[in-house]
Amino acid sequence: MTRQLIGTAPSRRAVLKGAGAGLLAAGFVAPVWAQAAPIKLGFQLHRTGIGAAYGRWYERTAQAALKVVNETGGIAGRPVEIIFEDDGTDPKRGAEVVEKLVSQHNCDLIFGPLFSHVVIGSAPRAGELKVPYLVCSEGFHVAGGMLNRWSMQPGITDVRAQVSSMAPWVLANLGKKVTMVFPDYAFGHDHRDFFTAAVEAGGGQVIAKIAVPPTETSFTRYLPQIPSDTEVLYHVMVGPAVLTFVKELGEFYGTGARPQIFGFIDSLEAVDIAAPGLEFLEGSHFWEGHCRAKQADASDHETVYRAAVGVDDNGASVSDAKDVSTYAHMFSVWETLFIIKAGMEAAGYQSVADRQKFVEAVEAMTDMPESLAHVQGNKVFNGKTHQVFGHQFISKVEGGKLMKVHTTRIEDGMYDDAVDYTSQSF
């Protein structure tokens, strides 16, 4: 005898209903799933090579920003992924990495590089591939017109704006007779040219320009070239040489009178300002893109950002006080990611077919108010030159800490447009 289990065997009608419901569900779910496919952002990272100290912190900053973006709904409701590729801080490899991120990883766009030669070497390929290339480079090459419609710098100001905006304060507070010591290559020459112009426009005078070859390891033979009537010594030495430079400068002047010293923090990014050998910097001034030491007037956004990127009040990693951040520059990565979010959402970005719309949406941006997206401060973007303008900070070394003494106005760093990228075709 067999027993029929009433109700357990599905009827034909039930099966059809179920299948229909399944298909319907699949029909609804599929678009939802497709919409939720992640946006893939390529990050051209200086993980190795001369930019590695920056790269380490740029990666951490990008990861921190990514976490915030994804926790607050991603980009237009889609999750975001970042693919990091090491460019070795080398322009040849940089262009190859652009290729790899776009053609192999299918990234929607690329962002993140700092070093000028990598940016200039990679931008042509980004233009050929018609992929948005958002750099964090500081170089004047973007606003100067050397690159192309696809290359933009919306997250950090350029050297020209930085030195132009600070020159008036230097002349008013430190002195009018300036001697410049700079590395004898493009980065130093930008400082030489733009700062000299700004000083002369402000009624000051650059009385000596001392170019130091990049291979130099000792500066003793250059220091006697500093005129005795120098009121301000402006230095932009980079890399490990700065430690030797400062030490030898201290030995040169001893305990006697010395000029005011004004430098670029680039010299000491990722270096502890209170490190042995740097005592001579006490009382000197630095440009900072973003104040390394937490200031008394730090905004809530700045506080949230500092915690998110894992930096303590002194500018070092919260997990290792010796691991000093590249705080003056790395905000550019954070802000660029939020600009990508804003740009994609404004453009209604769906796929790589909308890359052009994205560029046009960023070009249309103007005011960028201070917020969690712009933690360094409010900014103004110039869509024609693809360059952002913002505040600069001048800090004084007090008790081994960089304490802010002046904030420039945005308009202090503005200059006439040298290019109109919007007139170029895509």
């Binding site: 030669h117 200039i120 390929r125 050929e128 004898d184 290559y185």
Partner: protein, 314 residues
């Protein structure tokens, strides 16, 4: 099958395969192959000096840079057309190699390495010093409008591949012809026993100088083509790294083999490309691979192959 038929069949077959690869490979690898072909021309030039003539140079970045800037500066500063600029780049590589050779070939062995290295470093620092025109370490972009030859836009992937292939094919056929010619045999004689060659009536200085100039022309052509095809000229391509790269390609692929530089360039390119996806220490992996190569296959891949299986391989 005669040796000559075998040799030409192999090399023309490789060329045919490389040309066909553009239709098969994904875009990423096709563009990589275009880069590799140009770099392989650089390495072929290095091979003429080192692999065939025994001149261990550490200054070939200078000749590459001569082509790079010899092409880029006339376009950037004087609005030259790309073809004459390319030719000037090629000539610049050869002329500079000749000038360096006249002085450096008074030395040999380690001294030759050091002297060529010094010239290359001086060249690199000169590029930085003349920043106003060269763009120094930052370099400059070669305008896209200037990268069009007879209506063919070299910034387009297909055109670029064909242009890179044209250079590569010409360089390979030229190299094959050279090393199989009587002069090529004399180059090898210089490498193997300079004194005996002298006793036979050859002038080692003259032979080595010609080989170095030919090597410089190859390097200059590669430099000029690289700048034009990829749109950038900068001083980082004149650093010592770019003197060592062709040496590594040649050592890996097989010094004194025509196909070795190309094979080495392919393997080294992808060794870096793949390992950098897994570790920051990818240069360590490259170094370890080279140490292993020197220990277990000192003649390089094709050199070992020739020794064991194919003695006819040029």
């Amino acid at each position: 099958m005669t040796e000559s038929v075998k040799v030409w069949s192999l090399h023309l077959g490789v060329l045919a395969l490389v040309f066909a690869a553009q239709y098969v490979l994904p875009p990423y690898h096709a563009t990589n192959l275009a880069r590799i072909m140009v770099l392989a021309v650089f390495a072929m030039g290095y091979n003429i000096a080192f692999g065939y003539t025994g001149l261990l140079s550490l200054g070939h970045a200078l000749f590459f840079a001569a082509g790079f800037y010899g092409m880029g500066l006339p376009i950037g500063l004087l609005d030259w057309a790309p073809v004459p600029a390319l030719i000037l780049g090629l000539i610049a590589g050869g002329v500079l190699a000749g000038l360096v050779g006249v002085l450096a070939l008074r030395t040999a062995g380690v001294s030759f390495m050091i002297v060529t290295l010094m010239f290359a470093q001086a060249g690199y620092l000169t590029l930085l010093y003349l920043n106003t025109w060269t763009g120094g370490d930052e370099g400059f972009v070669v305008d896209r409008a200037a990268r069009v030859i007879a209506g063919n836009d070299l910034s387009l992937d297909g055109t670029r591949f064909v242009a890179a292939f044209g250079l590569f094919a010409a360089a390979m056929v030229g190299c094959l012809w050279l090393v199989r010619s009587p002069f090529g045999r004399v180059m090898v004689a210089m490498r193997e026993n300079e004194e005996r060659s002298r006793m036979l009536g050859y002038d080692p200085f003259r032979i080595k100088l010609i080989a170095l100039v030919l090597s410089g022309i190859y390097a200059g052509a590669a430099g000029a083509a690289y700048g034009l095809l990829f749109g950038y000229v900068g001083a980082s391509f004149a650093t010592i790294q770019y003197s060592i790269l062709p040496m590594l390609y040649v050592l890996l692929g097989g010094a004194g083999t025509v196909l070795g530089p190309f094979l080495g360039a392919v393997l080294m390119f992808y060794l870096v490309d793949i390992t950098s996806g897994y570790t920051d220490a990818y240069l360590f992996v490259v170094g370890a691979a080279l140490v292993g190569l020197v220990l277990f296959a000192p003649r390089g891949i094709l050199g070992n192959l020739r020794e064991r299986f194919a003695p006819w391989l040029p």
